[in-house]
């Protein structure tokens, strides 16, 4: 057995040497025979001739010997490969098309897969991929159990969790805030900061460099004060040029902090960043000093401010750990009278729901990878669904293309195959030849696809630092097997088919093809369009959604004159109900608002709206209009809005008027809605003066409210709060700590002055964010641009893929009918008629494909539209645009080969097979 293997190996490796060996041996034989014959008295020439005669045909013997050695297949393979290469160079168009289609399909699909994987299965950048690391996620159910809201944990809850050693080996937490960072004598700027428990870095397993790091300790040591900070790698590069740090310090909200180290390059927190990535990690004990509060937050059971991670105890399952966490969560019910304002959250309503329902809180334990935020992971499932569909469609389009091209290519060679069969080639031999060719093509395509994939992934990794993208062997392997498998399968089936056909029939009927083939090709063209259409529709929707979100901010002109100001009201847990009245800090914030308004250069200061509750509204029956959803109940956010807000942002009021101060006194709550909602509920009727009833939870009781529309603003000019499903009320509570400041001149120049003023006049009220709306908008549009560019590129690639396939299929079909075209032209058909014939039949197929694909596209649109949060797209418009785009591409793909065919000289065409 070993010997057999050795010989086989030698046969493969030393193929040439063996051949030489054989040659030598036979020459030796001949020489000795010649000697023998010469000794018998023959002349040299005669002896040699006689020896040769005796020996027989040396070439035949060598061939037989090779068969005996079983190295014949290698020669055959070599021949096949040579033949294949010659064949491809004779038909560069078809070959290049197949390779391109495969490369695009494999590259794009694998890249999409990797992206899904990066956001679902990989830990946040810089975090270790560790089974024991988990997120403890607080969840709050709404009263009717229909909705889940995120719930932050209090420090006492963290402590209790850490005491359950049977479930958790370590528990760590952090609080996210925005702070004003100042390096040296530079201008302060807003950055994201995470206030971490002393065991944060040891729990995550992330090491810091360039300094001693934060003081390590257990969760219980969280109150031991330490004024230090770990900075992000990016900040280190930007502010310190990556130079080694000795005794540098930073100023955060006016508090000096010693730099204790630098985080690893990609690290920006234990979970993927949503919004502003953290640049600072500060011990939670310093939070009181920085945000000008007390360390009450570390004592109070009510201060739900922490996000938590943990290491589960060895051998403990996520389910067991989750049960422990849930049982502890039950004990931490929050008082119903309080309304809390999540740290850095604008949506008070969602935080409110957390606290309203006593005892409905729970906790979940899930592995720390991908998105672990409650809201983010529901959005994520949408993203996965959308991207998954896109992946599937790309794969289908690729496979359809490859099979169509392969079948076309093989069928067009029926004559050649017939000739070879009649010359005595065995069927096996021919099938092997065709198989070699498809393998060669598939391999080349696969290799090119791999390169493309590599390129896309490296590009994405650079563009999306918030997700850990890395090339993945499994993904590539899967896609490759699929695409190559298709190539081989469809390379093989026509090979079998073609070799089975009668030789005589194929020779006589060369190339004109059977009806069966043309049906198959028609099927391919239709399938192609059926799959491409929804793909394009989905991509167009994504594009529309990102462009729409991009337009969420006011124009540059307005944004350049408005500053967004946010105070760090202590703790992110603020009691705003009348029972306790506004806190001292809130009163101060309100005073500062008035004082800012008095400053020279300031035109006006208003509260930034905040969603204070979610209400189910329905139109009062007698006010019902003719809108599409006139009779339906609708969930909306009620935005507590300052009078004059729309005027300040220069948002056009289409009907009625803007909110005024008196609105807070009227018997019905006055609201302003956007034009989309107005159309949806009232159609062409004027909604001003119409009423809505609303039901909402108030401390666990269902309360009713009556709203009256006083104005409609243009949805094309979005507010700072996004456009969908929001009603703006002057009576609803506003966020006490967020303001918009409109300046008389350019706002950018005013920012430093405003910051100095606030620091001097209200040092106990730290500023978390101070930047112009234009800056905020630009940062958002940068992100949006990336996504937009990404989906646009994917759309173009999909279109390219589809048109390549279409073009290839049609071109092959036309090529096969060259003789027919020749006959037609010879008996008097004009080239234009020929072109029209092909063009029309291609168009007919495209329209059939569009018709069949339409339901799929509509389903995709419907699904994406109800899931994707953002501006709703006009279904008809999208379908129409995509339909037209597909038709144009299909027409071009048919027209070019048809024209080429018609331009052929009839004599040449008739002579051609």
């Amino acid at each position: 057995m070993l010997n057999w293997f050795r010989l086989r190996l030698r046969g493969m490796v030393r193929h040439g040497a063996l051949r030489q060996d054989m040659h030598d041996e036979m020459r030796e034989h001949l020489e000795r025979a010649t000697d023998r014959l010469r000794r018998r008295g023959l002349s040299v020439a005669d002896a040699r001739a006689e020896a040769r005669r005796e020996f027989g045909n040396a070439t035949v013997i060598e061939e037989e010997a090779r068969v005996a050695r079983r190295t014949g297949w290698m020669d055959a393979l070599r021949g096949d490969l040579r033949f294949a290469a010659r064949h491809f160079s004779r038909r560069p168009l078809a070959s290049v098309t197949i390779v391109l289609v495969l490369a695009l399909g494999i590259g794009v699909n694998s890249a999409l897969f990797s992206m899904i994987q990066a956001v679902t299965l990989r830990p946040a950048p810089g975090m270790p991929d560790d089974r024991d690391l988990v997120r403890i996620r607080g969840v709050q159910w709404s009263d009717d159990q229909s909705q889940r809201f995120p719930r932050r944990l209090s420090f006492p809850e963290l402590l209790q969790l850490s005491e359950r050693r049977e479930a958790f080996a370590r528990v760590a937490g952090w609080v996210s805030d925005e702070v004003m960072l100042r390096v040296g004598t530079g201008e302060p700027r807003s950055v994201g900061a995470q206030f971490v428990t002393p065991n944060f870095f040891s729990t995550t397993g992330v090491g810091t460099h360039g300094g001693p790091g934060l003081r390590a300790g257990s969760l219980q040591d969280a109150r031991d004060e330490e004024m230090a900070v770990v900075i992000s790698h990016r900040l280190w590069q930007e502010e310190f040029g990556g130079a080694p740090m000795t005794t540098a310090s930073l100023d955060v909200n006016g508090v000096p902090l010693r730099i204790a180290g630098v985080a690893p390059a990609k690290f920006h927190g234990a979970t993927p960043a949503s919004g502003r990535p953290a640049a600072l990690w500060i011990p939670v004990s310093a939070r009181g000093a920085i945000l000008r509060g007390t360390s009450q937050a570390l004592v109070s059971r009510d201060s739900g401010i922490f996000s938590a991670i943990a290491r589960v105890a060895p051998g403990v399952s996520y389910g067991q750990a989750g049960a422990v966490a849930a049982s502890i969560a039950k004990q931490f019910a929050t008082p119903a009278s309080a309304l809390s304002l999540g740290a850095g959250a604008g949506d008070v309503a969602e935080v409110r729901a957390e606290t309203d329902s006593r005892g409905r809180g729970t906790s979940e334990v899930l592995r720390l990878r991908g998105e672990t935020e409650l809201r983010a992971d529901t959005e994520l499932s949408v993203v996965i669904a959308v991207f998954g569909t896109v992946c599937l469609l790309v794969l289908l389009v690729t496979c359809t293309n490859v099979s169509a091209l392969m079948v076309g290519a093989a069928v067009s060679r029926r004559r050649e195959i017939a000739v070879r069969l009649s010359l005595g080639a065995s069927r096996m031999r021919l099938v092997r030849q065709l198989l070699t060719e498809s393998t060669l093509l598939s391999m080349t395509g696969g290799l090119a696809g791999l390169l493309l994939y590599w390129w896309i992934v490296t590009l994405l990794a650079k563009q999306l630092p918030s997700a850990e993208m890395a090339p993945d062997v499994l993904t590539v392997g899967f896609t490759m097997i699929f695409a190559l498998g298709t190539g081989l399968l469809f390379g093989l089936s026509p090979a079998l088919h073609a070799t089975r056909a009668g030789v005589a029939g194929a020779l006589k009927d060369a190339g004109s093809g059977s009806r069966q083939r043309s049906r198959l090709q028609k099927g391919f063209v239709i399938a192609q369009i059926v799959f491409t259409q929804p793909l394009l529709v989905v991509l167009a929707m994504m594009l529309g959604a990102t462009v729409g979100q991009n337009a969420r901010f006011p124009s540059e002109r307005v944004g350049e004159r408005i500053i967004a100001l946010r105070f760090n009201l202590w703790s992110g847990y603020v009691v705003v109900t009348n029972a306790t009245g506004p806190s001292e800090k809130e009163k101060l914030a309100a005073t500062m608002k008035d004082r800012i308004a008095q400053l020279p250069g300031v035109e006006r200061v208003v509260h930034e709206p905040a969603a204070t509750r979610i209400v189910r509204v329905s139109v009062v029956p007698e006010d019902r209009g003719n809108g599409e959803r006139a009779a339906e109940a609708k969930r909306v956010h009620v935005e507590g809005t300052a009078p004059g807000y729309f005027g300040m942002l220069e948002i056009p009021i289409l009907r009625g008027r803007e909110l005024v101060a008196e609105d807070s006194l009227a018997s019905n709550e006055a609201i302003v809605i956007d034009s989309d909602m107005a159309r949806e509920l009232w159609g062409s009727m004027d909604p001003v003066g119409k009423r809505l009833t609303g039901v909402f939870d108030q401390s666990g009781r269902a309360e009713q409210g009556m709203y009256e529309v006083v104005g409609v603003f243009d949805a094309a000019h979005p507010t700072t709060r996004g456009t969908t499903d929001r009603i703006y009320s002057a009576r609803a509570p506003r966020a006490p700590d967020q303001f918009l400041v409109r300046t008389t001149g350019p706002a950018t120049a005013f920012v430093p002055a405003l910051n100095r003023f606030l620091r001097a006049e209200a040092p106990e009220l730290p500023v978390g964010r101070l930047e112009t709306l234009a800056e905020v908008g630009r940062a958002m549009s940068r992100d949006a641009m990336r996504v937009t560019a990404g989906s646009a590129a994917a759309g173009v690639l999909a279109l390219l893929l589809a048109s390549l396939g279409l073009y290839g299929v049609v071109a092959l079909a036309v090529g096969q009918r060259t003789r027919e075209i020749g006959v037609r032209v010879a008996i008097g058909a004009k080239p234009r008629q020929v072109v029209r014939m092909f063009f029309l039949s291609g168009l007919k197929l495209s329209i059939v494909g569009l018709g069949v694909g339409l339901p799929i596209s509509l389903a995709a649109v419907y699904f994406a539209n109800i899931q994707v949060v953002g501006p709703q797209l006009d279904l008809k418009l999208v379908a129409l645009a995509v339909g037209i785009a597909v038709l144009i591409v299909a027409s071009l793909a048919t027209w070019i080969p048809a024209r080429r065919a018609a331009a052929v000289d009839p004599l040449t065409a008739l002579r051609a097979d």
Partner: protein
């Protein structure tokens, strides 16, 4: 030269193995030896001999080595391997049974 008898299917391997077991030798000498030992009855030409040799080598029944011949030439010398020997014994037994049976049939009538 006497007329050579046609070789029975499958017997060439047996002949080659038997002769090579007696003495390892090269292809040319083997051909001569077959002629000589069969008293010029069997004439194996190169066209059958070499493929047979390669087939046997491929099966691992014989092995080949280049050796210096007494005439100062290099020649490829074949010898029987252990498994070749075993194979030969088996084949010889079955051949003997077969020829005995055939002989018995031919002696009837």
């Amino acid at each position: 030269m006497t007329k050579s008898a046609p070789l029975l299917q499958g017997t060439l391997d047996l002949i080659v193995l038997q002769l090579l077991r007696a003495e390892p030798t090269n292809g040319y000498d083997l051909a001569l030896r077959i002629q000589a030992t069969s008293s010029q009855v069997l004439n194996v030409n190169a066209g059958s001999l070499y493929p047979a040799l390669y087939r046997l080598e491929e099966k691992g029944l014989i092995r080949a080595e280049w050796e210096e011949t007494p005439h100062g030439r290099k020649a490829k010398v074949y010898s029987v391997t252990t498994s070749g020997r075993k194979h030969l014994t088996e084949q010889r037994e079955s051949w003997e049974r077969f020829s005995a049976a055939l002989g018995a049939i031919l002696r009837t009538t």
